[in-house]
Amino acid sequence: MTPRRISRLLDFLSPGAWTILGLALLSSAFFAAWPRPKREARDFWMFSPPNVQHYRGVLDDWNARHPADRINLVQIHYQALERRLLAAFTSDAPVADLVEVESRAMARTFAGPLDAIGFVDLTDRLKSEGLFDAINAPSFGPWTTRGRTFALPHDVHPCLLGYRADLVEAAGIDVARIETWEDFHRIMGALIQDLDGDGRPDRYLLNFWENNYDLIHILLLQAGGSLFDAQAQASFDTAINARILSTLVGWVSGPRRFCVDARDFTAGGDRMRLEGTVVASILPDWLAAVWKANLPGLGGKVKLMRLPAWERGGRRTSVSGGTAIGVTKSAPDFERSWAVAKHLYLSPKVAESLYRTTYIVSPVKAHWSLPFYHEPDPFFSGQPVGAMYIAEAPHVPPRVASPYITLALERVVGVLVALKRFAVAHDVYDADALLPEAQRLLKEAQHDIARRMDRNVLFNSTE
């Protein structure tokens, strides 16, 4: 380049600007030429830390035995996984071949037309391979919309009641006499005590409060209540729901209150469990493992019992949470992904290690007689924890998946909060007296959700 030409270039842009431009072009060319990493394994997204801890070992073993069919486990935070999943399904963003998904996240992927759901429809495959019969039927509910099932269930998640056996037995209480929630309150009531003499109880019977979405849902389901009917239409303006919510007001307020807010996964809640401020908690199988890991101080002091029923002869369990594995439509080889999914969720060997790590009971009915589920557990005072959960597994209530479930639960919680406010304002805590107000509030709440659902022309068009 001649000096004159260089001089003309420098007239046009300064040396610094030319340097920046050159670097920009060079780096752009560099990144454009960068080879895309070749996928050496199929990705499997998971969110639950205990499940990741368990399946990492299982997949290491799988990868060692199948070097040509490796699975790359990627742990993603629950909310991030949900966001990425929805982005992938609605905008063709990259997604894993296999995804372990939580029930509410799955429900959100059901908001559009059936063909927009990014998971492979497994209905026919589950039918032809006999899996609908092999797996506990209620476990399919959260993964099914408009008659089609999009994931293989991972669990049952029945609920029991975990209680401080040391306190209960020291008070001479025989829990075998407890059949209903009314019995629970009456028989255990002696444990509600003012220990420091300040005129306020320092010990309550149950971990529950009026704005805990999950616990309210568990109790409604146990009673046979529901938020959506079999056609996934809002249906929570029912006599059962009104009765349960009216009763719950008396649990959390008024002269017969016996519940306290000792929320899980908080230091404050754990302290209340350790100090005996709360005697009992509703405990799905997965939460039993959380107690064992996070509250070693409770070892040997706690026991499990069936949930008290809402009426004599009623259901003694409920259900909470749930995960399942889905194969995404973008997975290049469905058969290979499906084989991995079945290995992870249906193998008895994996079911054993899953139970030993997380207390989660397999939904495969044939596994329920395996010996490891019947071993006594020192943490729960020598009780056979797995067998106790399995005994309730066939009785867990059915659930209906809906993209509006979170909204509906918020409305139901709103009803309970408003009902409690009404009770306090009128000094009325009797369930019968609160029933008309509960029905009025539920009717309003259902109307609101139904209006929102009616707006969704995409969901309704494919029903």
């Binding site: 609605t90 959100r108 809640g269 993209p403």
Partner: protein, 300 residues
């Protein structure tokens, strides 16, 4: 536009200025104008991602007008905004007046202490106050119960007193930040005017009312507008404080939280866009009012 080189002749072709400003225009077009236009289109659609959408006319907007949750969000946000203006701004001004006192020792230390909370993130503040406001085991209830044994240790700050809890957290977070603006304005108040007022027999309140306040009014107007706009965009603080919910009975629901819930939890991006546009209009009105007020100040 003209430019001359050291030779006296423009070395740039006519299109050169356009090249220079093109990076801004390209970025503005791609990341602001295009999404804005898209969101306006989206506001007239029902969608489940770009692949599934249906044109529904103005139904999103008509539903919005009859949506009790939206109006609850507007009411909550307005109450919070009023609180921010009527509680937070006066506290900030009070702190600034205290720090502006002549002869105050350790002024820099106090200024750092009051300003420090705004150096930490909103999420951190949300998490911290969520712990502090816990029933029974939270520091606030424990301390109050220890000091006043009649205080209910289960006082439900985050269940039944959501808005006061939000005020406490936001005052702690923002009062020091706004104080800095007021402090800067107070330090520019004409000392001669203050001395003249003192010589004329004006007391502290009269000096504040008739000298200081008119002098700092432009800054006060700016702080108030900043508080209004910031308050209408409130989201992270209540979202974290209330454990990723709007709180019992939606007592902590704000407009932006409702937008987020609608767009990203329900997946109704069309309706969320309609909410966003209405929020934009509310903020534009606030900005216009502020411009009018500022213009009036300049005319005076």
């Amino acid at each position: 536009m003209s430019a001359t080189s050291r030779h006296g002749v423009s070395p740039f072709p006519r299109w050169a200025p356009w090249v220079f400003i093109s990076p801004f225009f390209v970025l503005f077009l791609v990341f602001t104008l295009w999404p804005l236009a898209q969101s306006l289109l989206l506001a007239f659609q029902q969608t489940f991602g770009p692949k599934s959408s249906a044109y529904i006319g103005a139904k999103n907007f008509t539903f919005l007008l009859q949506d009790p949750l939206f109006w609850k969000a507007v009411r909550n946000t307005s109450v919070y905004t009023l609180g921010a203006v009527l509680i937070q701004v006066p506290i900030a001004l009070g702190l600034a007046l205290l720090l502006n006192r002549p002869g105050l020792r350790g002024r820099h230390v106090f200024r750092l202490i009051f300003f420090a909370p705004s150096l930490v993130g909103l999420v951190f503040v949300g998490v911290m106050f969520a712990q502090l406001f816990q029933k029974r085991t939270g520091l606030i209830n424990s301390a109050l119960h220890a000091l006043f044994p009649r205080w209910d240790p289960e006082f439900a700050w985050l269940d039944t007193h959501v808005m006061p809890s939000l005020f406490v957290a936001s005052v702690w977070l923002y009062a020091g930040f706004n104080m800095i603006y007021f402090l800067a304005a107070l330090q520019n108040v004409n000392r001669d005017l203050l001395e003249a007022a003192s010589l004329d027999g004006a007391g502290p309140w009269q000096r504040f009312r008739h000298v200081v306040l008119p002098e700092i009014r432009p800054v006060a107007t700016f702080v108030v507008l900043l508080s209004i706009i910031g308050s209408f965009q409130l989201f992270e603080l209540p979202w974290v404080l209330l454990d990723n919910t709007a709180g019992p009975d939606d007592r902590g629901l704000t407009i932006v939280m409702y937008l987020y819930q609608t767009g990203f939890l329900v997946g109704d991006l069309g309706y969320a866009s309609a909410i966003g546009w209405v929020l934009g209009i509310i903020l534009a009105v606030a900005a216009i009012v502020q411009m009018r007020l500022t213009q009036k100040e300049q005319i005076r």
